[in-house]
């Protein structure tokens, strides 16, 4: 069939024949192959350089993020006395308020992260490997939970454990006492509880995804070889969950470092974290250079941790 058109004019094909071109003209137009070759040729001469395509996202990023960030950094080296110097850094680093805020931020974040990892691992284990009615619904609720604002959890804890919350109300009703025993919510422990409650699902989500990929035959074989459940968790499940734990833990650590709403909503007196210090310096004291210094430190810690996470996750193969 294909030869039927050879030597004939391209516009006069035999009835029913596949349209082809005379020898020597293939690839110059008319056939599907030639059409494919048209594409790069059409672009020749007026091809847009690839870097041009990077401009719109970079411009948007610069407008909404990089420029304000640059302003923050510039403000941090612009003391009220004028000029450019590192004096605001020296002043902030020398203040006990900053050192306390840094210490509080680090231990709260580290504590909340450890709590989230332990609680999240145990809960994810139960949801993934212990069949119980409604297990799938619980797993789906984890996804919904991730969309909740942080203050909502704090508000719920206030309703339960607040000074005039349900727990204290029940206690005072039952004993006739003037106040209930649950007063921890306005202490650092209250912040820690709220952060663990709120951030645990952020550890569970990647863990549940990792557990769903785990070959259950490995667990069965381990069991048949004589391993008890605790050994299977320790020697089989945990090592394979490490990348997910590292990912979830790093995310929670960074989020805890930058958490503002939970600390504000618990109303914990004496619990000043770096974001709270930024707020009080900027809004309450109008000390913008100091606020920007604390903000820059906060950003540096977050970016540093992110870098560490990348290095660790690459090593463990996440």
């Amino acid at each position: 069939m294909a030869s039927a058109g050879r030597g004939k004019p391209a516009g006069d094909p035999a009835p029913g024949a596949v349209p082809t071109l005379p020898r020597g003209l293939e690839g110059q137009g008319g056939t599907p192959n030639a059409l494919r070759n048209d594409c790069p040729q059409r672009g020749k001469g007026k091809q847009v350089p690839t870097w041009v395509w990077a401009l719109p996202p970079v411009a948007v990023l610069a407008a909404v993020f990089l420029y304000p960030l640059a302003l923050v950094v510039r403000q941090s080296v612009s003391p009220d006395s004028g000029g450019t110097s590192l004096q605001p850094y020296a002043d902030v680093f020398a203040s006990s308020a900053f050192r306390e805020a840094l210490t509080t931020t680090v231990w709260l974040s580290a504590g909340a992260t450890v709590g989230c990892l332990v609680l999240g691992f145990v809960l994810a284990l139960v949801i993934a490997f212990v069949p119980f009615p409604g297990g799938k619904a619980v797993a789906r609720f984890i996804d919904v939970f991730l969309s909740f604002p942080s203050f909502l959890i704090t508000l719920a804890l206030l309703f339960i454990y607040g000074t005039v919350g349900m727990a204290n109300g029940l206690w005072t009703d039952a004993t006739g006492a003037h106040s209930g025993p649950f007063q921890f919510l306005t202490t650092p422990w209250g912040v820690l509880l709220a952060e663990i409650t709120y951030f645990t699902p952020f550890v569970m989500r990647p863990l549940l995804a990792a557990f769903s990929q785990l070959d259950t035959a490995q667990l069965e074989v381990a069991s048949s070889l004589g391993a008890r459940p605790a050994r299977i968790v320790r020697r089989v499940i945990l090592p394979e969950a490490l990348p997910a734990l590292a990912a979830g833990g790093s995310l929670v650590l960074v989020m805890c470092l930058n958490e503002f709403g939970i600390v504000l909503f618990t109303g914990a007196k004496g619990v000043t974290t770096l974001p709270m210090l930024v707020y009080s310096k900027a809004i309450l004291e109008s000390d913008y250079p100091a606020a920007c210094v604390v903000a820059v430190v906060n950003i540096a810690i977050s970016v540093g941790l992110y870098g560490l996470y990348r290095v660790v996750s690459r090593r463990v193969g996440a």
Binding site: E220, V221, S223, S224, L225, G226, R228
Partner: protein
């Protein structure tokens, strides 16, 4: 008391005693009575959903029977957790622990069973040597081929010196050439471990026929037939066995005196157990059907011809039924629609009476 084996008791062998397994009321294993003798290789052969893997999982302790009991040796293990049953298990996808080196995979069971630390390296080396994987002890599973991974999985199961070895379609993930080699290896391993009872689940009749001392044929959650490979192949008791093991021709016949009637054709076969005048099924293996005139001749038309290298598979329509014949490679292949004559010897046919037929 279940679990504890009395001193001197037989530790090997498996016994299913009326075992029924059901999920949400759906019976997936129905009243299985089966005994695997100490040192015996029993193949559970059947299609998907026949209940063979469920039976293996009942021995391993991963499913709990709703009725019946499972014994390993003389121990009633029905309610024992898997880690206390003392079994070795190999599954289709190897299930090696990816974060452990080969030697750590093999040592896993020994450590779990708290074997003396000084013994572990020797036992690991012994198991790896037995499977020819001693040169790969320091590798990770991802650095091994499929066949090598399966050898490690077998070494891991053997390292704990189990009384019972459960193999769940262990060769299904391997290509045909590797599978053939591994079959030979498994047969050798069994010769080296004559006391270990092996329950071998497969849907591949070649694996079952090659390796097993006996084959239990399963279908639709029930045991259909059980016997030596030769018995099942030559004297199947049910249509299912005849069809699943060897893909036999099954022809509906009416029993006469020393012969049967297939359509209008009288065929000479042994009919000693069949009732005169009853309907029955005649079973003839395709490779025992010859092309050309002979005893028990059947005339029919060629419906399909398949070349299979050393043989031709002919599909011939005879009296409204399709008969398969595997004949030595033909120099001149018949055309579709050609009339041909098939034949088979009296002693190559088995009559399945309606009573034992599951059909």
């Amino acid at each position: 008391m279940s679990g504890a084996a009395p001193p001197g008791a037989v530790r090997s062998g498996i016994r299913f005693d009326g075992v029924t397994v059901a999920y949400h009321g759906n019976v997936v294993l129905d009243s299985l009575d089966l005994t695997v003798e100490p040192g015996e290789v029993m193949a559970l052969l059947g299609p998907s959903g026949s209940g063979k893997t469920t039976a293996l999982r009942a021995v391993a302790g991963f499913v709990q029977p709703v009725r019946g009991r499972v014994f390993i040796g003389e121990r009633d293990v029905t309610h024992l957790p898997p880690h206390r049953r003392g079994i070795g298990m190999v599954v289709q996808q190897y299930a090696l622990f990816p974060h452990m080196r080969v030697e750590d995979n093999v040592a896993f069971g020994l450590k779990a069973q708290k074997a003396a630390k000084g013994q572990i390296p020797g036992r690991v080396a012994e198991a790896l040597a037995m499977t020819g994987m001693d040169a790969y002890a320091k590798r990770y599973p991802r650095e091994l081929s499929g066949g090598q991974q399966q050898r490690v999985a077998i070494a891991r199961a053997l390292a704990i010196r189990p009384d019972v070895l459960l193999l769940d379609e262990p060769l299904s993930a391997l290509d045909a050439q590797l599978r053939s080699g591994m079959l030979t290896e498994l047969a050798r391993l069994h010769r080296e471990l004559p006391d270990v009872s092996i329950l071998y689940v497969t849907h591949d009749q070649v694996e079952a026929l090659t390796l097993a001392d006996r084959i239990a044929v399963m279908d639709r959650a029930r045991l259909q037939d059980c016997g030596s490979p030769q018995d099942l192949y030559r004297r199947p008791r049910t249509e299912f066995t005849a069809s699943f093991v060897g893909n036999a021709n099954l022809l509906p016949v009416r029993v006469g005196a020393g012969s049967v009637l297939f359509g209008d054709t009288e065929l000479s076969v042994a009919t000693e157990e069949a009732a005169w005048g009853a309907m029955a099924t005649l079973c003839v293996r395709p490779h025992l059907v010859g092309l050309g005139p002979g005893p028990n001749a059947l005339r029919g038309k060629i419906a399909e011809v398949q070349w299979r290298g050393s043989t031709h598979r002919l599909y011939v329509d005879v009296a409204g039924h399709r008969v398969k014949a595997d004949v030595r490679e033909l120099r001149v292949t018949p055309a579709l629609g050609d009339e041909v004559t098939l034949h088979f010897a009296r002693e190559d046919a088995v009559l399945l009476s309606a009573g034992v037929s599951d059909g």
